[in-house]
């Protein structure tokens, strides 16, 4: 633990990992309808006074499962990132661990002091000053005023809001609340700290401080459960990732892999009724028939891996068009690669020289030796043109759904960054160099 902290807080065993949070088969339901929800709550409250058997563990009309059969452990010194799209159940999970929500089914065991850092700090009261909130939050964690007095100046200094510490918290920006909340948590050192998507609101300097302090907190034996959409924070702070989808855990393991899966999920449009992806459905898309009086019709088109099972950054890929020609004609053809919203063209390539095709069915193909697309989801359109008029004989994916395809990437921090920053192109084999233009080494004097 850092020197600024309340020393000697943690007493964890060094030999066997000490489980601080154990979640076993946790289920939680909510109700869509407000009036019904109020009625159910009143009913549950009345029943819980007289009934000893579990109540409300099945769904009633209007209810839905927000969390389904979630099980995992958090050991002392471990930091777990919880990722997932909106509505996946992340915040619900945190509140169940904190105890401010009841379980619908299952069991959660926590050992030690537990605190939750959210957009409201550590449960800050907006009417009170920052100073008053510090003492109330400490009292919740059963830390005496005397002990808080010892670290109060450090808490305020770290939060960087010295001038506003006696102002009401409602006058704070979200960043100021986050700074004070995080600073407080790092100095009061609960055994388990639950962080709900709050660190990202601070500026970059604050985020850097957060990462450093969180790592010191973890080395000192604290445990962290971080809910975040920010892969950067999760990758740097956490050593394990839980990925939630529709209330269930779909991945629990190594953080880089978890972040990669989250980014893949985040890039996939949730509903895309027109889209079809052969790699997912195996069903080719509907392709429009050729324009009236056209002599060429596109039967199918797509992009497929060469030498590998799936499309992958830097690997060979083959774009193909299957056509039917009613007569022998000269044609040109080409394809466009687009972003998955089909709004931005990444590249259009075409065979400029006209060439003849015979009457009947055939296939045109172009091979990309090293696919330069970063990992993600893309769209493909193709066109067969009349070289004499530059008008299309047949189009694929222009007036109807383009063919969507997914490019896989390696599960590395670099590839996660590419997805996080929405890179489209992955440049390979770059040559990096450094030139010292009269630079000299300067060391910091003590």
């Amino acid at each position: 633990m850092g020197t600024s902290g309340i020393a000697g807080k943690f007493r964890g065993s060094r030999t066997k990992p000490e489980v601080l949070v154990s979640v076993r088969g946790a289920w939680r339901k909510f109700c869509h309808d407000l009036n019904r929800s109020l009625r159910y709550t009143a009913l549950d409250a009345a029943q819980s006074l007289f009934v000893r058997s579990p109540i409300g563990s099945t769904l009633r009309p209007g209810e839905f499962w927000a969390l389904r059969d979630v099980s995992f452990d958090v050991v002392r010194g471990e930091s777990v990132g919880v990722m997932g799209l909106n509505g996946a159940g992340k915040s619900t999970l945190l509140r169940l661990m904190l105890g401010s929500l009841r379980l619908s089914r299952g069991e959660i065991v926590t050992s030690g002091q537990i605190a939750m850092l959210s957009e409201h700090g550590l449960g800050f009261d907006p009417r009170l000053s920052g100073r008053e909130n510090v003492y109330v939050a400490a009292a919740v964690l059963e830390i005496s005023r005397q002990r808080v007095d010892q670290v109060f100046d450090q808490i305020v200094a770290f939060s960087g809001i010295e001038e506003f510490i006696d102002s009401p918290v409602r006058a704070y920006s979200s960043g100021m609340r986050a700074r004070l909340g995080f600073s407080l948590a790092m100095h009061l050192e609960p055994d388990i700290l639950l962080v709900d998507e709050v660190l990202a609101v601070g500026d970059l300097g604050f985020q850097r401080q957060c990462i450093n302090h969180a790592q010191r907190y973890l080395k000192g034996g604290g445990s962290l459960v971080l809910v975040s959409h920010n892969p950067h924070l999760v990758q740097f702070i956490c050593d394990r990732c839980l990925l939630l989808d529709h209330g269930g855990i779909v991945y629990d393991g190594e953080v880089v892999e978890g972040v990669a899966r989250y980014l893949q999920a985040a890039r996939t449009p949730p509903t895309d009724p027109l889209a079809s992806d052969a790699s997912i459905s195996g069903v080719p898309p509907r392709v429009p028939s050729a324009p009236a009086n056209s002599s060429v019709e596109i039967l199918d088109f797509g992009i497929q891996p060469v030498g590998t099972e799936t499309l992958h950054t830097g690997e060979s890929a083959r774009v193909y068009v299957r056509y039917r020609s009613l007569r022998s004609v000269d044609i040109r053809w080409g394809f466009c690669l687009l972003t998955c919203d089909a709004e931005t063209v990444i590249t259009c390539e075409g065979l400029l020289e006209p060439f003849p095709v015979l009457a009947g069915d055939g296939e045109l193909a172009g091979t990309v030796p090293r696919l330069p697309l970063a990992g993600g989801r893309y769209a493909l359109r193709v066109a067969i043109m009349d070289p004499h008029t530059e008008l299309p004989f047949a189009l694929g994916g222009f007036h109807t759904a383009p063919r969507f395809f997914t490019v896989g990437a390696d599960t590395t921090i670099r590839d996660n960054y590419r997805m996080f920053t929405h890179d489209l192109i992955a440049l390979e084999d770059l040559k990096w160099e450094r030139l010292d233009l009269g630079a000299t080494e300067v060391t910091e004097s003590s």
């Binding site: 109020l38 709550t41 401010s100 065991v109 050992s111 550590l122 919740v140």
Partner: protein
């Protein structure tokens, strides 16, 4: 290190564990209760026009209204042995004690929703913390009452030392009602409005402005009012020393103390469920 096991079972499914957790939370709530009381006492008049004077202005104003009614002949109260303003002021101080105690959990849980929802603060801490303010209010009003008694040169009987028991009895009654209503108030926001109407009616059927009539419909209703004997006897303990319904007062006092404990346990169960509506 404290280990907490949460399951989907209702709290009363394991009574032994339930009572252990009540006791544990009661003990751990004390430092937080002190912090909440300290904060409330400092901060309650931060955005107010009249400041702390409102604590004593309010009962004095209610007393002044009663005096005005009596002088204009609307109220005909002639059969009391102490100055009427003193009679009313003692009644108002006792009544406001009951109201303050009732509002402590109702307003406390409403005001501290965020603390309850975002931390694992025990609800006991909030009620105990709010009682700190109630206690200070009693002290302030009691001081004013003492000054008024001295002003009227009314001798204070020795029985006045028993008055805190009556105050505690009324506070317990108020607290019990407040504890029952508080979780429901979190669900249905019109409860607090209904409460204003009910307490206003209750006020006029309590022996604050006038003693309970011995006959008639009003007298019958006032005799059914559980605070009538306690309020009348506590006032008598302070002003004359002659209590009239000691056995009923003692029975109600004991029931009030017991009901606080029962209602406290009820809050432990019901609040956990009601708070979820706040979370959502």
């Amino acid at each position: 290190m404290r280990t907490v096991i949460r399951t989907h079972e209702p709290p009363l499914a394991r009574p032994a564990e339930f009572f252990r957790s009540v006791w544990r939370d009661l003990r751990r709530s004390l430092p937080l209760a002190v912090e909440i009381a300290r904060r409330d006492i400092r901060g309650q008049y931060r955005s107010s026009l009249l400041g702390p004077t409102v604590i004593v202005l309010s009962p004095l104003a209610i007393t002044a209204v009663a005096i005005g009614f009596r002088r204009s002949g609307i109220l005909n109260v002639d059969f009391i042995s102490v100055p009427y303003p003193l009679f009313v002021l003692v009644g108002v101080v006792l009544w406001t004690t009951l109201l303050d105690a009732m509002n402590a959990p109702i307003h406390g849980f409403m005001a501290e929703q965020r603390l309850l929802a975002r931390t694992n603060a025990p609800p006991e801490a909030i009620v105990l913390g709010k009682l700190g303010t109630v206690f200070l209010n009693i002290l302030a009003r009691g001081t004013v009452l003492l000054l008024v008694i001295v002003w009227y040169r009314v001798p204070i009987p020795a029985t006045a030392v028993l008055a805190p028991v009556g105050l505690l009895s009324l506070a317990s009654l108020g607290m019990s009602i407040g504890l029952v209503i508080a979780p429901i108030n979190l669900l249905y926001r019109d409860i607090s409005w209904m409460l204003i109407t009910v307490t206003t009616i209750w006020f006029f059927f309590s022996p604050v402005y006038f003693p309970a009539p011995s006959a008639g419909a009003i007298g019958a209703i006032m005799r059914l009012n559980p605070i009538t004997p306690v309020l009348s006897d506590t006032r008598s303990l302070i002003l004359t020393g002659a209590v009239t319904s000691l056995s009923r007062s003692l029975l109600i006092t004991l029931s009030a103390f017991l009901s606080v404990v029962v209602c406290w346990l009820y809050v432990r169960v019901a609040l956990a469920v009601a708070m979820e509506q706040v979370n959502e």
